[in-house]
Amino acid sequence: MTNLLPLMVAIPLAAGFVLALIPRTGTRTCNAVACGASAAILVIALLLFGKTDAYQMGGWEIPIGINLSLDGLSWLMLIIIAVVGFAVTLFSFAYMDTYTSKNRYYCILMLMVAGMNGTALSGDIFNRFVYVEIAVIASYILVGFGCEADELEAALKYAVLGAIASALTLFGVAILYALYGTVNIAHLAEKISSGPPVAAAASSVFFAAVVMLAGFTYKSAAVPLHIWQPDAFSTAPATVSAALSGALIQIVGIYAMIRTMFIVFGITASIGWILLCIGMLSMAFGAVAGAKQSELRRMLSYHSISQIGYILAGLGIGSIVIASGEDSPVAALAIIGALFHMVNHAVFQPLLFLTAGSIESSTKIRQIKNLAGVARKKPLTSAASLIASCSIAGVPPFGGFFSKMMIIIASALAGYYLIAITVVAISIVTLVAFMRFQYKMFFGQEIEPAKIEKKTPISMKVAMAALSVICIATSLLAIPAVRSAVLEPAKEAIVDRESYINRLNTDNQSTANPTNYKTETGK
């Protein structure tokens, strides 16, 4: 089954270029091709469940060739991309009809999905940089897709600052390549764990770590480097905001950060404290700034920053505990909490943006204060919005409650009571903000009845209903049996650096290679 791995990148790429060939008028064909590609990715991602592998591209063995590596963490990312991608593609059927050239929109969306899948799978630090660039450059175009003045401004800001962040990441890769002569993640991890090549280079390795951390922090929109995010998410088409907040910033930001910090460099207490500080700052800033926004999607984007903060804080606590070498159950709880919150964030955030897009496309309402009475006119959209809001605010039976709870308990068990109290306080602020929004929508006084210009199309309804069901279903991950099947392998992939190194180095007889096939036939 694992030899289907490269198709995760190849299918969306091929679909993207097929879509570029379809003329602008063939919107139905575009829908079919994009939907087929997303469905194929979703099916393959489900088939890959529970597998680990190191796939050698073109049959070249690992020191020479490029490899794709699959483990629990990569699989979690693949399924996040596939689900978000499918929902966004389905929602775009009707939503993107108001924009011209749908073929180009789908083409770029598919390229972004290909880049994200490649980022999740790549076992090579330079190839991962290239995949990240594919995804991120596609997202610059998508943010400015409408070509309005404010969209172009947001896209330009995002692109210019993003180019600096990418340059920082590439700088880190270059330093590592100069020091160790390899870009394969497993080889790098092996060499870094056995110390720097010369004693003077120890500080260079730390410098590379910090520079790469800065690049990934920008892409995950955590606080000191968040300024592009509210503008981009509130002006871009709603489907793009959903794909970016649900998948892109988590994959090219947090996932890449985890891989680099935990596997390549090996986690240290100083990096852990940096992650924790960034996390707490984004958590507090996002919730407080989001509480006083009047525009719906801008409020949602600030809360996205806040939720990213929870993930980073969980990871930070986990890595501080690991680095201090004390109890690993606490570290495991913190990291599982962070991963669980990543899964939740990948469901409720797209759902919130899609419902905002649905409201916007049929009533032209962007401000929260005008939302009064929408619940009566659009029952399904507002129900989906309510479910997502409950999850993001941490109302008990929903997934968001359990993941926040895990992070709070882990920080209390690790002895950081102040952090635990702050996290609780911030989730109350989040709850208040979302209660205000939902109250307005369900019970708000109608000054003048909201005009429904057109009905919600069936494809939008299906996308929102599917995501709502998944949003409720994520709370199942709190059950120990489900958690140990899905989240434990991902946690092991983060914590267990040795097994990553060994898997790539010894698995040369990978199942992907047919036995009678050799590449060196030229001699």
């Binding site: 030899n3 791995l5 490269p6 198709l7 190849a10 790429l13 091929a14 270029f17 097929v18 570029a20 060939l21 796939y55 050698q56 591209m57 073109g58 049959g59 003045a149 172009l152 992907a512 290679n513 047919p514 096939y517 590449t519 036939t521 030229g522």
Partner: protein
Amino acid sequence: MKNRSLIIERVSRWMTPFIFLYGVYVVLYGHLSPGGGFPGGVILSSAFILILLAKGKQQALKNLPYGLAKKLDAIGALAFISVALLGFVFTGVFFANFLQQLWPGEPFHILNAGTIILNNIAIGLKVCASLFLVLLFLSILRISFGKKGQMQSMEDR
């Protein structure tokens, strides 16, 4: 464009076929000599860009129409992926050089490296078309500041 020099026009007309031919050579011999798909594609597109600069946009679009360039851009990328996928179909490994088994070929002859020549041609098409498109857009889009101080892009000429 006014004040077009006769010398430049004449010389570019003579140069263009040779530049184009050299581009084709670099693409086709990429696996044997220095060069390959990307440099070859750049040389190929430089032939069109020379026409664009020397004779203007109309003449360049007669040689490589806008629609065709867009299609070539996508077809080149698709061809590259198809070669990789054919490797997956025939040997089970993505990007495997499946033609190497069928036609091992003589060393230093043009048909000896299996799929590499196909990949070079695909990249050559893609790079040629997309670089030409980039230059074309630079020549037709102009940033002007409207009354409201907003940026507007408009087609000129």
